[in-house]
Amino acid sequence: MPKNKKLKPQKQGLLADNIKLITIMKKLYYLQENIQYNKQKAFTLVELVVTIGILTMVVGIIFALYWTSQKFYQLTESQAEMLQNSRVVLERMNREIRQAKEIVTALSQSPDNPSSQIEFQDGHHPSPYDYLNSLYYYIRYYVSTTTGEMHRQYLVYCFDECSQCSNFFKWNDIQIINGNTITTHPCVLEDKIVGEFIKELKIWGANIITIVLQLEKSSRQIEIQTNVFTRNF
């Protein structure tokens, strides 16, 4: 309704009074409506600041929770990975060392001076290398210090060049040709990575061989130790 509405010609008596009253009330109503409308037009600075404050707090709390959970997730993941690697490596070494026929590596008898690798004669069926018809197959476990990976080598020992070797010998066999002593040399049939995150491998012992495996990932470490009784010596 237009605000500056011209009043109609004055009327007398009760009717005129009534019209006046109604007009005043109408004016008042629109005035009030306008005031209310103006009040709702925008947020005040205080409201905005309070809202942003609460929002920041909520986002902050959610982010902190999220960050913590992410940290725990990563911790759990590296922990699980280290554990899997240690188990796989240690179980495999155990199984093979248990059946070993001879330990090639000179091992210390005490924990003071442990070996960081082990080579031994395979006591299992040499699949898939049985076609070589060798009597002596060797397995060597060692840790690559640069990558922290555990390697497993499968070896035979030859006097000839590895590429044309068909006669296989023991690791410590010697030949004397024209008075010169010739020792065998290892020929690697395969070299595979069997585990990761290995920080250190410590092996010592004679009849009972102790293996200590230290793993490290994302600055977390675990250490696992066990004994193997070599029963085929």
């Binding site: 959610i62 929770l65 959970s69 725990f72 009784f229």
Partner: protein
Amino acid sequence: MPQNGFSLIELMIAIAIIILGIAIVLQIFPGSFSMEKNTEWQTKAVFCAQEKMEALLALSFAELTPGTTQENPVPTPACQAFSRTTKISYVDANLNETDSPTSLKKIEIKMQWNSVLKIAPNEVSFVTLFAEK
């Protein structure tokens, strides 16, 4: 007067519920971490039990003295968080424990540790038999 928006109280309650919900969901990760930790203990315990078992298997039948030995903590550096109970006993033909000497011995090794999780197991046991040759 009709309501045109949320009141502050309603909003705060809503936010509180959301935070509570998120906190409960995110609690899974620390929970899974402690469960993983317990798995690590279990794995270590198996290897620490094997350590003892292999050392005993290297002995001769006569050297295995019947009786119970408790190691708390286990002297091995990697196994110090565990307690280890080793029990050697004679068993009869029905594999029941007996006091009188027979030609068969039973070795029982039990590893125990303090678990952070109440629901997770905190011990592992191994049993093997050793015959007189």
